[in-house]
Amino acid sequence: MSMADVPLSWYLILSALLFTTGVVGVLVKRNPIVIFMCVELMLNAVNLSLVAFGRYLGDAGGQMLSIFVMAVAAAEVAVGLGILIAIFRLRDNINVDETNTMRG
């Protein structure tokens, strides 16, 4: 099997890099929706390493966990987008750089 000799660590590295990309994305983007997409990226990275681990351990736990992650992600998306729409209703802009009426 060709993929047999792909070491576990490669998957982990890949997921680590994806995860970091997501993190950086959250920090640099200003559009909350995109920020949120970056969060999704992070979650997927996590899923990747979960599945990889599971595969190499011959354990189902990894896939189980990632299923739950997906479900949770779905729920978050629904709520998150709802909130964004609500705030958009109040003022036609959701740029996070302008939402700091509360500070100090």
Binding site: V23, V26, L27, V28, R30, P32, I35, V96, D97, T99, N100, T101, M102, R103, G104
Partner: protein, 647 residues
């Protein structure tokens, strides 16, 4: 009847309590009568005690004691011990005191706070008696402080007058300086002797006690202790440099000056030294110090006395200088002589003060001699008695002052550490004494009246209640000298030294012995000086109708000015202590306290406040920077955990 010693001090105390609590109801003469009666009663008891003492074994008897306070080894009790020294003081205090009480009844008759006055007076006598009778240092200290209080109250008796209350305060505080030294002396003594008792088992003044103390390393402080005691004495007896309060103390009623600031309280210092002469004799250094200070005080005070115009001030400074002579005697080891002078001085100085009091009374409160003159005709009795007093103090032969002062001079010359120089200065003092006393007499009684019209109209001889004491005291000041007429030895009339014999051990026997010729020389010299200067002053001032010898211009001259300004001690102290002290205190308060100590506290608070403002910058409300903060946190946490993970 062993309670008798207690009765003596308690009588005036009772008088005080009654007068203090219900004195107002007793009314005018009542309060005074009560107080005076108490004193006479005390005098009587003292006489009885005197007899008992003479009979007692070792010429000393003790009262039952009442333990005051105690903690393990420390035990302090109220206990009285009477020996001849005490008995002498008792007689002086109660006797003179009684006379002055009587005198006051007349003198204060117009006073509205009549009963309070006598209450204070009794209180004073109580503490004074406690001072001289107590058998231990603490009890003595109680009396010591007590008389200070009494004099504070009496000097400030006319509390509306700021000058009076100031003087009272000054007296108390200056005394307190001495008291502090005295306290330290007490602590040292307790540290080495382990007791405060004078006599009895291991008493301070007993051979056994001193030996044990030396065992506990008393040797190291054997000079310090007497010096500290002496500083205490300086405070009470107005010696340099603590003499400044006595002159101001004249703000008080004149009888008070007579009793407290001439006859009794101020001699407490001398009493202390005589009482503890055992300790002093161990420390020659201290002795010389005492002698020097005494001599200096005598000179300075006398010189100041030359230039004063306030009749009471003259007497005050003469008191200071006389006290100086007494300390000189102590310093030269002649404690008995010092006590002898205390006695005679008590009589004639009280007499003089009371006399001046009667003059002031007649003058309606006027004290400035420049406004007097020619009172001899108006106040014959006063004049006569004061004349005698003055004769006595200026050392005219055959009066009390002559004998006591002569003894002092003798000891200054030939006593322990005595020398011609000392003698010379002492002679100078007596010369000045003679001069200013007669100056005073002349300015007051001779020449013609220089006061206002209605003063002249108002002039009258004082009532019998005031003149009677004058008479008695005059008699005393004539004859008390014959208790120890040693001076007559010079002219080969050898009468017994009753006084010294009477005191015996209690005032370390050390009468200087010199060969007959020198003694004769000395006596003659002092007689010459006394008589000479007296006559000189008397005739000069009789001639000077305006009562002044010096012209305005001469009065500007340095020496006179210096003397008139009392050598500028008050100003000096103001510059040296009072003003800097106030500045320091203000600085401590305004700067050290409010800015320094409190500033630190406030500063800490403000610092946190500003820190809070600083940190709140990061709380800028932007999601992304919050996220950044989180990331930073994450990175830090992960790095530390990885770097620090064991193995």
């Amino acid at each position: 009847m062993e309670l008798l010693p207690w009765i003596v001090p308690l009588l005036p105390l009772v008088g005080f309590l009654i007068n203090a609590l219900i004195g107002v109801r007793l009314g005018k003469p009542g309060a005074g009568l009560l107080a005076t009666a108490m004193l006479w009663a005390a005098f009587a008891c003292s006489l009885v005690l005197l007899g008992q003492v003479q009979a007692a074994p070792g010429k000393r008897l003790f009262s039952p004691e009442f333990v005051w306070f105690n903690a393990d080894t420390l035990s302090v009790s109220f206990k009285l011990s009477i020996d001849t020294l005490t008995a002498l003081m008792l007689l002086i205090i109660t006797g003179v005191g009684a006379l002055i009480h009587g005198y006051s009844m007349g003198y204060m008759s117009h006073e509205k706070n009549y009963s309070r006055y006598f209450a204070y007076l009794n209180l004073f006598v109580f503490f004074m008696l406690l001072l001289v009778m107590s058998s231990n240092l603490v009890g003595m200290f109680v009396g010591w402080e007590g008389v200070g209080l009494a004099s504070y109250l009496l000097i400030g008796f006319w509390q509306e007058k700021k000058s009076a209350t100031d003087a009272g305060k000054k007296a108390f505080i200056v005394n307190r300086i001495g008291d502090a030294a005295l306290l330290i002396a007490l602590f040292l003594i307790f540290r080495h002797f382990g007791t405060f008792e004078f006599y009895g088992e291991k008493g301070i003044l007993t051979k056994a006690g001193i030996d044990t103390a030396l065992g506990n390393g008393y040797g190291l402080v054997s000079t310090t202790v007497p010096i500290l005691l002496f500083i205490g004495a300086c405070g009470k007896s107005a010696q340099l440099p603590l003499h400044v309060w006595l002159a101001d103390a004249m703000e008080g009623p004149t009888p008070v000056s007579a009793l407290i600031h001439a006859a009794t309280m101020v001699t407490a210092g001398v009493y202390l030294l005589c009482r503890t002469h055992e300790l002093f004799l161990m420390a020659p250094g201290a002795m010389t110090l005492v002698a020097i200070v005494g001599l200096l005080t005598a000179l300075v005070a006398a010189s100041i006395g030359l230039a004063q115009n306030d009749i009471k001030k003259v007497l005050a400074y003469s008191t200071v200088s006389q006290l100086g002579l007494m300390f000189l005697a102590c310093g030269s080891g002649a404690f008995g002589v010092a006590m002898f002078h205390v006695t005679t001085h008590a009589f004639f100085k009280a007499l003089l003060f009371l006399g001046s009091g009667s003059v002031i009374h007649a003058m309606g409160g006027e004290q400035d001699m420049r406004k007097m003159g020619g009172l001899a005709k108006k106040l014959p009795i006063t004049y006569a008695t004061m004349f005698i007093g003055t004769l006595a103090i200026s050392g005219i032969p055959l009066l009390s002052g002559f004998f006591s002062k002569d003894e002092i001079l003798l000891n200054a010359f030939a006593g322990q550490a005595g020398n011609a120089f000392q003698w010379g200065l002492a002679l100078l003092v007596s010369a000045m004494t003679a001069f200013y006393m007669w100056r005073m007499m002349a300015k007051t009684f001779s020449g013609e009246f220089r006061g206002t019209e209605e003063q002249e109209h108002h002039l009258h001889e004082s009532p019998i209640s005031m003149t009677a004491p004058l008479g008695i005291l005059a008699v005393l000041s004539v004859f008390s000298g014959y208790l120890n007429p040693a001076a007559l030895k010079a002219v080969a009339v050898d009468l017994p030294d009753t006084f010294g014999h009477f005191l015996g051990e209690n005032a370390g026997e050390s009468i200087a012995e010199v060969n007959h010729n020198t003694e004769l020389m000395l006596v003659l010299a002092s007689v010459a000086v006394a008589v000479g200067f007296s006559l000189f002053a008397w005739r000069k001032y009789k001639k000077a109708t305006n009562g002044e010898l010096l012209t305005e211009k001469q009065r500007q001259s340095g020496w006179y000015e210096l003397a008139y300004q009392k050598w500028g001690f008050d100003e000096l102290y103001n510059e040296l202590f009072v003003r800097p002290g106030k500045q320091l205190a203000t600085w401590l308060w305004r700067v050290a306290d409010l800015r320094g100590v409190d500033g630190l506290v406030q500063g800490a608070g403000n610092m946190i406040g500003s820190l809070s403002n600083l940190l709140s910058r990061f709380q800028n409300g932007y999601v992304r920077s919050y996220a950044l903060t989180m990331l930073v946190g994450v990175v830090l946490v992960i790095l530390t955990s990885l770097l620090g993970r064991g193995r």
